[in-house]
Symmetry: C2
Subunit: 327 residues, 2 copies
C-alpha cells in the first residue's frame, strides 16, 4: 500500500471485474469500448490513495473509483464530439467509430452509470459525497464552456486569470474532487479534507500547465502527439498567454496575428515562427518556474496534512511522476 | 389541495421563484430558455400529488419537483438534437437557436442541475429516492436508444412487445418515477409505493398510445401538429404495428411498402393511403379499446391504494384529463 503501483493495480483489478456491456447493445457497446481503453486512470487511483491516507476501508471505495472514472470518460466522450477530435488514446473516438447520436446518448448514459456506482455504496457522509461529486461535475461543464468561449473570444481577449479559472474547473476540480471523495468515505476531518482538496487543485493546475508546455516542447516520441499542435489549432493555452505578458509590442502583434491565422499560412512555418518568439522570450524557463511553484504549493498542502507519512508516499510518488513526465 | 389546478399552480410558483441563469451565460442561457418555456410540467405536478396522497410536507418536495422537470427537459434537449427536431412547444429548439455543442453541454449541465435539486433536500429515504431517480434516468436513455434502433430495423422487424417495452422506458417510467419519488418523500409504505408506481406505468403507456392515436386522428387545430406526421416520417408507432396484426397479406405488404418509402412518393398521398388502410381495418376502434383497457388497469391500481379518497381526487382528475385530451 506504499507505492503508486499498488493503487494502479487495484484500479485495474476493479475495472477488469466490472461488466459494462448490456442491452441495448447499441447503447452499451460504446461505453464498454471507452472504459476498456484504459488510459492512466489517475482519478480513481488518487481516490483510493486518499481513502487509505485516512485509514478508510478500500473495498468501500471500489464503487466510487468506478464512478469517478466513468464520469471522467463521459466528459471525454462529449468533449471529443464537441471538439471534433478523431482520436483518443490512439483509438477512434466514439463519434467517429459509431456516430454523433451514439456519442450523445451513450455519454448521457455513462453519466447516469457513474451515479449508479456512487449510489451503490452507503456511507454516513453520502449526501456530502454526492454533493461533492455533483458540484464537481457542474464545474467541469462550466470549464468546458469557458474553454469553448475562449476560442470565440480570441487570444487578445483572454487573461491569464480567465485561463487559470478555466483549467481549474475543467481539469483541477476533478482531481481534487476524487481526493476529497476518497477522504470523505474514510471519515477524514473537515479541515484535512479541505487541505487535501487544495493539494489536488494545485496539482491539477500544475499538471495542466505542464500539458500546455509539453505541446510546445515535448519530445514527440514520448509525448505521443506532434509538437506544436496547439499552435496549429490556434488553441489558447498557458504558453501564448504568458508570452504576451513579456513580449514587446512587435512580438505581441506578431503572436496575435499568428494565433488568428486560418488556412492562409503554412502550418509548419507558423509553428516555427511562434516557437521562435517563445525562444526569444525564454518562455520555457518562465513557465517551468511557474509550474515548479505550483507543485511546491501542492507539496506544502500535502506536508500540512496530519496523517501517517508512509501513507502519503504514494501521493508524493504520484506528484513526482507528474513533475517528471515527458508525456 | 383537491384539484389538479392547485398543483399546477404550485408547480408554476416553484419554477417562477427559481433562478436558472448563471455564469458562464453561454452555458446557462439555453437552460433558462428551456425551463422557462413551460410546457405541461405534468411530472412535477404528479410528484406533488403523490407526496400529498401520503401526507407528505409539500415544501419537502419543491426541490424534487424542480429536479424531475429539469431532468425531463434535459432529455428533450438531447432528443431534439438527436432527432433533428426544429421546434419544441412551438419555439426553436436549443440546437437550432444556438448550436449543437450548446445543446450537448447545456443538456449535460441540466442533468447535473437536476441532481443538485435532489441533493438539496435531506430525507431518511435519500439513497432510495436517488436510486429511483437514477434508474429511471438510465431506463429513459435505454428507451431512447431502442426508439432509434426501431428506425434502423424497420416496421417489419419490430413487434408490439418491443414497442410497448420501448414506450414503457422512454415515457412511462418517468411518470411512474415522479409518483414514486413523491411518495417516498412522504414516507409511504413500500407496497403502496409500488402500487402507485404501477398506476404511473399504465397511465404512461395509455398516454403514449393516445399520443400515437392522435397523430393519425387528432384534430389538427387542437392537437397543434399536422395529422399524419408519424406517417410522413415513417415513424414506427402503435398504429402501424397494431394495423399489421389484423391486416390481410395484401394490406400488410402495402403498409410495409408505404412505411419504407423515402422521398419517391407524394407525402399527402402516402398519408391518405395509410389512413385508408387503417380505416378499412377499423383501427381507431381497436386502439381506443386498448387505451381504455390500459386506463382501466391504471384506475384499478389507484383504487387499490390505501389513502384518503379526497387526496386521490387530483390524480383521478389528471387521469380523466389525459383520457379526454385532444392534444
Amino acid at each position: 500500500m506504499n507505492s503508486i503501483k499498488y493503487y494502479l493495480d487495484q484500479v485495474k483489478t476493479i475495472f477488469d471485474a466490472e461488466q459494462f456491456d448490456a442491452e441495448p447493445h447499441e447503447l452499451y457497446a460504446p461505453i464498454d469500448y471507452t472504459l476498456r481503453l484504459g488510459g492512466k486512470r489517475i482519478r480513481p487511483t488518487m481516490l483510493l490513495m486518499a481513502n487509505a491516507l485516512f485509514g478508510g476501508d478500500e473495498k468501500q471505495v471500489h464503487n466510487a473509483a468506478l464512478g469517478i472514472e466513468t464520469f471522467h470518460n463521459f466528459t471525454l466522450l462529449h468533449d471529443d464530439l464537441m471538439d471534433r477530435s478523431p482520436l483518443r488514446r490512439g483509438q477512434p473516438t466514439v463519434y467517429t467509430k459509431w456516430n454523433e447520436n451514439t456519442a450523445i446518448l451513450s455519454g448521457d448514459t455513462m453519466f447516469a452509470l457513474a451515479w449508479r456506482f456512487f449510489l451503490r455504496q452507503p456511507s454516513p457522509s453520502l449526501q456530502e459525497i454526492l454533493q461533492c461529486f455533483n458540484e464537481t461535475a457542474i464545474e467541469v461543464c462550466e470549464g468546458q464552456q469557458k474553454d469553448m468561449n475562449f476560442e470565440r473570444m480570441g487570444l487578445a481577449n483572454v487573461s491569464i486569470g480567465d485561463y487559470m479559472d478555466m483549467i481549474r474547473q475543467k481539469t483541477a476540480v476533478l482531481l481534487a474532487g476524487a481526493l476529497k471523495i476518497g477522504a470523505l468515505y474514510a471519515g477524514a476531518p473537515a479541515n484535512e479534507v479541505e487541505r487535501l482538496y487544495a493539494f489536488g487543485i494545485h496539482l491539477g493546475l500544475a499538471f495542466q500547465m505542464q500539458d500546455d508546455l509539453l505541446d510546445g516542447y515535448g519530445d514527440t516520441a514520448v509525448f505521443g502527439k506532434k509538437t506544436g499542435q496547439d499552435i496549429r489549432d490556434n488553441k489558447i493555452s498557458f504558453l501564448p498567454l504568458t508570452a504576451l505578458k513579456t513580449a514587446n509590442e512587435e512580438q505581441k502583434q506578431q503572436l496575435l496575428a499568428l494565433f488568428a491565422s486560418k488556412d492562409n499560412m503554412d502550418e509548419e512555418e507558423k509553428v516555427r515562427q511562434v516557437l521562435a518568439i517563445y525562444e526569444s522570450l525564454n518562455l520555457k524557463n518562465t513557465i517551468e518556474k511557474t509550474i515548479a511553484d505550483e507543485f511546491e504549493t501542492a507539496r506544502k498542502e500535502l506536508d500540512g496534512i496530519h496523517a501517517d507519512e508512509t501513507l502519503k508516499t504514494p501521493l508524493r510518488e504520484l506528484m513526482e511522476t507528474l513533475i517528471g513526465r515527458k508525456k
